[in-house]
């Protein structure tokens, strides 16, 4: 299966990444790296800078400094669309970002392909039968769960290999969270690389290889899958749950 060498292939490396929205300084020097086929999470309380880290990777902040290496290339001065194509990145934003004036199917097929191995539409509809039923509905008429399915589905179609998933279970019914869990596990088995920002710790403990703990815009700790059991108390304290 995956050779050790392949596993060490690095898709993303952030070094001393600072990010700003206007005058406010949100990230204060993030250092992290993600290897091919790895699943990592960013854990932290609200406002700690997890979502901003994902946005800063894509260049969606007003200013960023430091280094963002994508597939071994420096992207700190690049425009967002070039970064996405270079890294074959699929982004699922916290607010889901469904285009309200486009139909579900238009939303699904809108994104340009970033790789050649995207999931065919039939397979996506088989995975999310609701979307097939609702494909003619405008984005603004979809329920929260349907919007989340759609936000996931559209980045599967484009052949992304690095997924940035921001709070995909937030505010959803348990049954939908379970469906998404199945989907994300399936993607991990297919060998996709993922960075998850997740409030729902149980959703990711089984799934992720490593967890980065973020506080005040800095990485304060890193915990591997094997360490989770022994450090669960500390983790809960950190997350305030």
């Amino acid at each position: 299966m995956t050779s050790a060498l392949e596993h060490r292939d690095e898709l993303l490396r952030l070094t001393d990444l600072h990010a700003f929205y206007g005058e406010s300084h949100i990230l204060h020097g993030i250092d992290l790296n993600v290897g091919a086929r790895e699943v990592v999470t960013l854990l932290g309380r609200n406002g700690s800078g997890r979502s901003t880290t994902l946005k800063a990777i894509l260049g969606l902040v007003s200013r960023r400094t430091g280094s963002v290496m994508v597939n071994g290339r420096e992207t700190i001065g690049m425009q967002p669309h070039r970064i996405t194509r270079l890294g074959r990145i699929g982004y699922c934003p916290e607010e889901r970002g469904i285009f309200a004036s486009l139909s579900a199917e238009e939303n699904l097929t809108l994104l340009p392909k970033v790789g050649s191995d995207g999931m065919p539409l039939e397979e996506i509809y088989a995975m999310f039968p609701n979307l097939l039923e609702r494909r003619k509905s405008p984005g603004m008429r979809l329920s929260g769960g349907e919007q989340q399915m759609l936000a996931m589905a559209r980045i599967l179609r484009v052949g992304a290999r690095l997924l940035l998933l921001d709070e995909i279970t937030e505010g959803l019914a348990p049954v939908i969270v379970r469906t998404l869990g199945t989907v994300v596990r399936g993607l991990a088995e297919r060998g996709l690389t993922m960075i998850l920002v997740e409030q729902n710790f149980r959703f990711v403990t089984q799934l992720a290889d490593r967890h980065y703990l973020i506080e005040h815009g800095r990485i304060v700790d890193m915990i591997t899958k094997n360490e989770v059991a022994t450090r669960i108390e500390a983790l809960h304290r950190f997350l305030g749950v």
């Binding site: 425009q79 967002p80 996405t84 194509r85 982004y91 934003p93 004036s101 340009p112 970033v114």
Partner: protein, 288 residues
Amino acid sequence: MIQALSGQLLVGLINGSFYALLSLGLAIIFGLLDVVNFAHGAQYMLGAFVAWMAMQYLGINYWSALILVPLAVGVLGMVFEQLVLRRLYGLDPLYGLLLTFGLALVLEGIFQNAFGISGKSYPVPDLLQGGTNLGFMFLPRYRMWVVVVSIAVCFGCWFMIERTRLGAYLRAGTENPVLLQAFGVNVPLIRALTYGFGVALAAFAGVMAAPIYQVTPLMGSGVIMVVFAVVVIGGMGSIAGSIITGLGLGLIEGLTKFFYAPASDVVVFVVMALVLLARPAGLFGRQL
């Protein structure tokens, strides 16, 4: 009686065709770029003048001008967008408005300086000379052509925006350009093309207008005020809204000319005030 009425309605329909073409371009530009393109009237004038100059100095006829002039003026628009306008994205929309207003004054000034304010006349192409006598009125062939082509172009634009993939990019970009770019779409390029397209539409309207109205440096500043009222009534950024409102207001203007001519210049603004009172986002705009 019926002759006078149908005559005014035809004039209204012609004016409405130009309102529709111009407000469509404005709506597209405003939607994606958040720029109130005050240079739209001057770009319309530029279309008419370039067509006149092309015929005068290069012997380019109406039919070729109808294609070449919008292309040329559209490219000029894209150059302007790339060199200047794009630097103002993300700032208060007032800056874009002031910049394009300045551009309008510069363009009109250049042409006034070069050609004076008296009008140049542009001949109706041979193929569209003459007209048909409908019994109750005389229908000039060129005017019929203007109405049909304008409606066809407007419908074509509507179809492209609402029903094609390119249009889906435009709609998505209008809604959330940052996210669209994060998905790998070259939004800066789409912005430049959109501005160029909107400007080309204005120039196209200018070429169409050349044989009907006098070609003068200030021909755009007269019509643009009405067109802005049309955009406000239709709802900022609404594509179908600006087309329907453009044609409708042309007709209302025509009717007013028939029933109470002195009011015809202000009727559009009266309608605008009434619509804003009842529906602040415009007839077809999304209510806030």
